[in-house]
């Protein structure tokens, strides 16, 4: 199938892109990697009047570290996140999750900004943004604003982005040395949309869990933090019974949809199983001496 006709603007700057979107009055779309947008155009699920291509905007694909924050330009491709030494060093959970995203040819094109803006309930990057307390930099007609990932996602394919706003960057606090982490996902086939996935970070202090964070996808229309499980782990020694209790809390909090691929009950059980594995792996990493990350391998 072919896209319906549209006007095309290759924006040379972010303000230029915003200006085109403003003029389009809700009938414009940003084209970044195009790995979700172009299928929707080909199916004619979307028929925007104008596409604003930001691929030629200079400086939108940089990865950098400023103090305790990793900044990632909106046009950074999934494969760049997968292979960046900075991401591996400071946000290893993000690097580890990237091979789960579709296939190499998709990861070569797909961008972090596009994934966040598209807000697919089965996409990894929105969930990781929620896990890692990312702050999403957004340009609009009135200048710049920053959105917390936790309140950015409003529903399936729905965010707090206005029709004339563009994501420009994502700021992610780096994981401090010694932070344990894990990412677990199940999809029917490698690279297929996830049925469910979970990300965990936590630290070990005096033998107990400190500042655990758990985020899940597949538990509802948006990625969510598993608050009950987080508070259950906080200040506790992470033994097998505690892990099981926390995993049960993750499953109990989930409100997964049923679809052709999985029932709601199956997804809830799956989330519990993934939580069990992920919390245990994150805790092993948190306990491992620096440089002995392999301790988390089962």
């Amino acid at each position: 199938m072919k896209p319906a006709a549209f006007d095309y603007v290759a924006a040379e700057s972010v303000p230029a892109a915003v200006a085109v979107l403003s003029r389009a009055g809700g009938d414009g779309k940003i084209l970044a990697g195009g790995q979700s947008l172009v299928p929707m155009l080909n199916f004619r699920l979307l028929r925007p009047a104008v596409l604003v291509d930001i691929n030629r905007v200079p400086g939108l694909a940089a990865i950098g570290v400023a103090g305790d924050v990793v900044t990632v330009g909106a046009l950074t491709r999934h494969h760049a996140l997968e292979t960046s030494p900075l991401i591996a060093a400071h946000l290893p959970v993000l690097a580890a999750a990237m091979p789960h995203v579709a296939h190499l040819a998709i990861r070569n094109r797909g961008t972090i900004g596009g994934s966040l803006a598209h807000a697919d309930p089965a996409a990894e990057l929105p969930m990781l943004a929620v896990l890692l307390d990312a702050r999403i930099g957004i340009a609009g007609p009135n200048g710049r604003r920053v959105a917390e990932a936790r309140s950015f996602f409003r529903g399936a394919l729905t965010t707090s982005l206005d029709h004339d706003e563009v994501i420009t960057d994502v700021a992610i606090p780096r994981l401090v040395a010694g932070t344990g982490w894990a990412f677990e996902e199940l999809a029917r086939r490698k690279g297929d949309f996830a049925l469910a996935a979970i990300g965990v970070t936590l630290s070990a202090r005096d033998g107990v869990a400190d500042r655990p964070r758990i985020a899940v996808l597949g538990a509802g229309d948006t990625p969510q933090r598993a608050a009950a499980a987080e508070s259950l782990l906080t200040g506790r020694a992470v033994t097998a019974p505690i892990i099981a209790e926390a995993a049960a809390a993750v499953a109990a909090d989930a409100r997964p949809d049923a679809d052709l691929k999985a029932s709601s009950a199956y997804r809830r059980r799956l989330l519990g199983a993934l939580a069990n594995r992920a919390i245990a792996a994150a805790w092993r990493r948190a306990l491992a001496p620096p440089g002995h990350d392999d301790a988390a391998r089962v």
Partner: protein, 160 residues
């Protein structure tokens, strides 16, 4: 909406210039405008992998990229890999291991393998299968494709 854009790109080493409407997909530019029908079009939504080509050194789905976006790019298609008289190593490996039946998925498989070899160790069959999972073969001849890639990895990396 029917305004055309003049684009210039290098396809298999040859510079080409065309005037394209924005909605023209890269896959259709290659097939319809340039006559390079080796790039196959299966699903047109990025699932089957048949239309995979190399753009600026990276494998991409040519059905998920607009032709106008390829302005200034270097595009390599299966036609640029080798010729009957002089097969590229990846083509020879597919030939020797009978890694194609109907041949529909083959161009996408070949271009995908070219990029996979550059970017991943492909040290295990599981890793090769993961790498190929975005390319569908409806003859289901995956076993021979796996054998071809395994042999290719051994040949290019000097492993038995």
């Amino acid at each position: 909406m029917n305004k055309t854009f003049d684009i210039t790109l290098t396809v298999n080493g040859t510079r080409v210039t065309r005037a394209v409407v924005p909605r023209l997909l890269l896959s259709d530019l290659l097939r319809e405008e340039l006559g390079l029908t080796g790039t196959h079009v299966g699903c047109e939504h990025g699932v089957c992998g048949a239309c995979t080509v190399i753009v600026n050194g990276d494998s991409v789905r040519s059905c998920l990229m607009l032709a106008v976006q390829a302005d200034g790019a270097t595009v390599d298609t299966v036609e640029g890999l080798g010729a009957i008289a002089k097969l590229a190593p990846v083509q020879r490996a597919f030939h020797e291991h009978h890694a194609l039946q109907c041949g529909f998925c083959t161009p996408g498989m070949l271009m995908t393998v070219v990029d996979l070899l550059r970017k991943y160790p492909l040290a295990t069959d599981a890793e090769i299968c993961d790498g190929l999972s975005g390319n569908l073969c409806r003859c289901t001849g995956y076993v021979h494709i796996l054998a071809a890639v395994r042999a290719l990895v051994a040949q290019t990396r000097g492993r038995p």
